[in-house]
Symmetry: D2
Subunit: 127 residues, 4 copies
Amino acid sequence: MSWEDGFRDSPYHRFLGLEFALNDGVAEVRMPFREELVSDPDVPYLHGGVIGALLDIAGDYAVASQLGRGVPTIDMRVDFLKTAGREPLVARARVVKLGRSIAITDAEVRNEQDELVAIGRILFSTR
Amino acid sequence: MSWEDGFRDSPYHRFLGLEFALNDGVAEVRMPFREELVSDPDVPYLHGGVIGALLDIAGDYAVASQLGRGVPTIDMRVDFLKTAGREPLVARARVVKLGRSIAITDAEVRNEQDELVAIGRILFSTR
Amino acid sequence: MSWEDGFRDSPYHRFLGLEFALNDGVAEVRMPFREELVSDPDVPYLHGGVIGALLDIAGDYAVASQLGRGVPTIDMRVDFLKTAGREPLVARARVVKLGRSIAITDAEVRNEQDELVAIGRILFSTR
Amino acid sequence: MSWEDGFRDSPYHRFLGLEFALNDGVAEVRMPFREELVSDPDVPYLHGGVIGALLDIAGDYAVASQLGRGVPTIDMRVDFLKTAGREPLVARARVVKLGRSIAITDAEVRNEQDELVAIGRILFSTR
């Protein structure tokens, strides 16, 4: 199975309903809204943990598109700028450094109004 | 609704099947295995994004148990030490600093063999 | 004393011999080479801790140029991409978010060949 | 030259006046106060960049004591909890994980009253 098929066939990616695309070296991952991802029973905003996962997936996808295989995450750091509601989100990631041991990626998540929801810097092992 | 009921009634927490407990100031969150959380179609290990979410939830729970309310995440940093398979996981978190503006928490995720799967440091806004 | 004079009169900034400039909202901090900043007695590369400090200072300077005052650092995260030798370095920082409680900045350090030495994401308290 | 001599002979470590010790696997680095490290000309507190460097050095020292050689820093993350004044500081670090590619360390800086000044998580390359 190709790495791209692996991304599409991942049970977790399927559960999230992710769509993948590459544009000029920028990895793009779209996520539709889903009720199961709501954080608070009263205020319907999306759980931050899912936004973190989306950044991680976009970074992985950016590296995979260059290496031809998915890579394990070493560490991830996420800053939350704005809560997201009942809305689709898009994550975009690019590779900052592709080394023999480590790849560094920068990723961001935006809502439909193109507002910044979160930013992430994620390290992957390229060994 | 109390903050504890809010944690239990969160759609995302319910989807993950989380169980919450407090032991001597340590917040404990148990997560059963679920097929939808698998990362790779071929190798059945748990998606790192979910492990990150679990650390975030445990940190939030630790702060909430002291403040009496859930708090928004400012930033989170997660280090992955070991992949997790088809197994339940437990996250534990404690509050390192509870300030007027910011709370700092340290959290870890362990598997059934008590091996360290991931560690996280998560900041929350206490305003 | 103005915030700019405060930056220039800081004993640590003076010791490092820093020069400050603003270009279209980008804060720029230049640091000459100094023997006291060498890490290893045998291999003359610059100590990473100093590069971290330079990123922090550039981020602070970027926020100060918008707020009119220096601000305390909440947390900083630095990725090291390349060692620096007996050479001057320049750090550039921009404000990603300027909120009522928190400012997020992105900073980078480059050498004379314009190669990326390190990148940093630094949070400041704006209260 | 042994790695320990390398730590002691580092020009930057000498400039900072660092003293190194190992206690039951915990690396300890003491730093006296120095006027050149003051951040603000009016309020005499220590520059955060120096505290970050101290955490990095302590983490490196902890790994070196196990590997028998200093190791390059991959990334560092520092949380500042309390400003430090005209006072000596002590950093302590321990190795959380010593892998074939990466070592993870946890470090903290305390003042003379044993109050927590900063905490850091620092990754090193062990290749």
